[in-house]
């Protein structure tokens, strides 16, 4: 049979669509395999860079492999532990707040005394020029958290100035910084609540609790 005749038949349409789906899926599967390792490596590199930014001091372990998973205020929290000679010196974990346009994801570092060593926003969708001053690249605002802990300022002062707290809001954007302050405060409360477990370095190095 000629291709022209065959092309009109009903079965041909099915085989054509099926064949297309098969070939494209195969191409995607191959591409996923070929890029998987590189994507993971790149993401791990990103994580390490953000660890370096929110932590101070020197550590001698691989944070990515030394994790602890605990129940936090919004579901499970993966905590990365920074050690020096086996002792947990600092912790890094993600906290998330509600901004003006959805979730604002932050990463925060905290030392064993409960003091914040650094906070960075890693993902947000706030209004450019207004809410995006929470980015370290746009404004110094996020650095105000460094050295703070629950008690300095006192718990009722952990808010933006408009709410009677100590942290600045931005002209034209209160919701965004309020969300970030609340998220960081939540992170500190999480530390206080789980302090003993977090600082107990007895779990084997290499992160048995982490997949």
């Amino acid at each position: 049979m000629k291709l022209e005749q065959l092309r009109g038949s009903l079965a041909y349409q099915g085989f054509l669509l099926g064949g297309t789906a098969l070939l494209t899926t195969a191409a995607l599967a191959l591409a996923a395999r070929a890029t998987d390792a590189d994507i993971h490596a790149a993401e791990a590199r990103d994580m390490k860079q953000s660890f370096a930014v929110v932590l101070t001091g020197q550590y001698d372990n691989d944070l990515l492999k030394d994790t602890l998973t605990l129940n936090g205020p919004n579901g499970e929290v993966t905590v990365y532990r920074a050690r020096k000679a086996g002792q947990v010196e600092a912790l890094v974990y993600k906290v998330s707040g509600n901004g003006y346009a959805g979730a604002v994801d932050c990463i925060m570092g905290i030392d064993r005394t409960g003091k914040i060593t650094g906070v960075r926003v890693i993902k947000h969708r706030e209004t450019p020029g207004l809410g995006d001053k929470i980015e370290a690249a746009k404004s110094r605002w996020i650095f105000a958290f460094e050295g703070k802990y629950l008690g300095d300022p006192p718990a009722d002062k952990w808010g933006v100035k408009k709410d009677g707290g100590v942290f600045d809001q931005f002209a034209g954007a209160t919701i965004t910084p309020r969300g970030v302050v609340k998220a960081v405060k939540g992170g500190l409360e999480f530390f206080e609540k789980n302090r003993a477990q977090l600082l107990d370095g007895s779990a084997p190095l290499g992160g048995a609790t982490h997949e």
């Binding site: 291709l3 054509l16 789906a21 890029t35 590199r45 990103d46 450019p128 020029g129």
Partner: protein
């Protein structure tokens, strides 16, 4: 033959430009053109997809039947976009952090399907590839221009962060056009995209009309001897 390619190039880059003439692909156009670098990156990614999709669709144009061509094209285009997406994520990760959200938008760019239907399905592989390449470059030109205008007026810079897209060697492109600029937020926000696009389309119309008038004027004296 080369005449045909010249015509394709002129059509794609200017006369029938995806953005300025066909007014297609508005979704990515509005979303990414807050800076010239983003526009350039999105344009180049779209060009890669257009080139590949046009060539593949042209190569299989005799096998694909009329009835199911649209789903076949869409699946091929979506696959190519995903391939571009994972490749950028794996091998140009810094760029992915800037553009990642928007790469998937290329599927929603009706210009890609439009070129498949209007050109690739009816022409041989090489002209189809040329059409895809040139349409893509026309799109890149449009996005970069809109991005540049919005960035200069909105933030006072031009090609900020270009090194993320093109490598450190191109950091010389990063210019601060207006020093100590406070910024003009409207231009960075979506309304700025519509405003700039509107003015640029108007400007293209004015240029085209002036060219047409000049062509008429130039043609008139030559026409007279023939008439007399």
């Amino acid at each position: 033959m080369s005449n045909q390619y010249a015509r394709i190039s002129r059509e794609s880059l200017w006369d029938n430009n995806i953005v300025f003439a066909q007014i297609l692909g508005m979704c990515p156009t509005m979303a990414v053109t807050s800076s010239a670098t983003n526009g350039l990156g999105m344009g180049l990614a779209t060009t890669a997809v257009l080139l590949a999709s046009n060539m593949i669709i042209s190569a299989i144009r005799n096998i694909v039947s009329e009835e199911v061509r649209i789903p076949v094209y869409i699946v091929i285009i979506a696959t190519l976009v995903t391939l571009v997406d994972v490749s950028i994520n794996a091998w140009a990760h810094d760029l992915y952090k800037v553009l990642g959200l928007y790469i998937a938008l290329i599927v929603a760019n009706c210009a890609v399907l439009g070129r498949a239907e209007a050109f690739a399905a009816k022409n041989p592989v090489l002209p189809s590839g040329m059409d895809g390449l040139m349409m893509g470059l026309g799109f890149t030109f449009a996005l970069t221009t809109i991005g540049a205008v919005r960035e200069i007026i909105g933030a006072g810079t031009l090609f900020a962060d270009a090194h993320l897209l093109l490598g450190q060697a191109f950091s010389f492109m990063e210019l601060k056009i207006i020093p100590d600029y406070k910024g003009f937020l409207l231009m960075i926000l979506p309304p700025g995209g519509f405003l700039v696009l509107g003015f640029l389309i108007a400007a293209k119309r004015v240029i085209d009309r002036n060219r047409a008038q000049r062509a008429v004027v130039a043609a008139t004296p030559a026409a007279e001897p023939v008439a007399s």
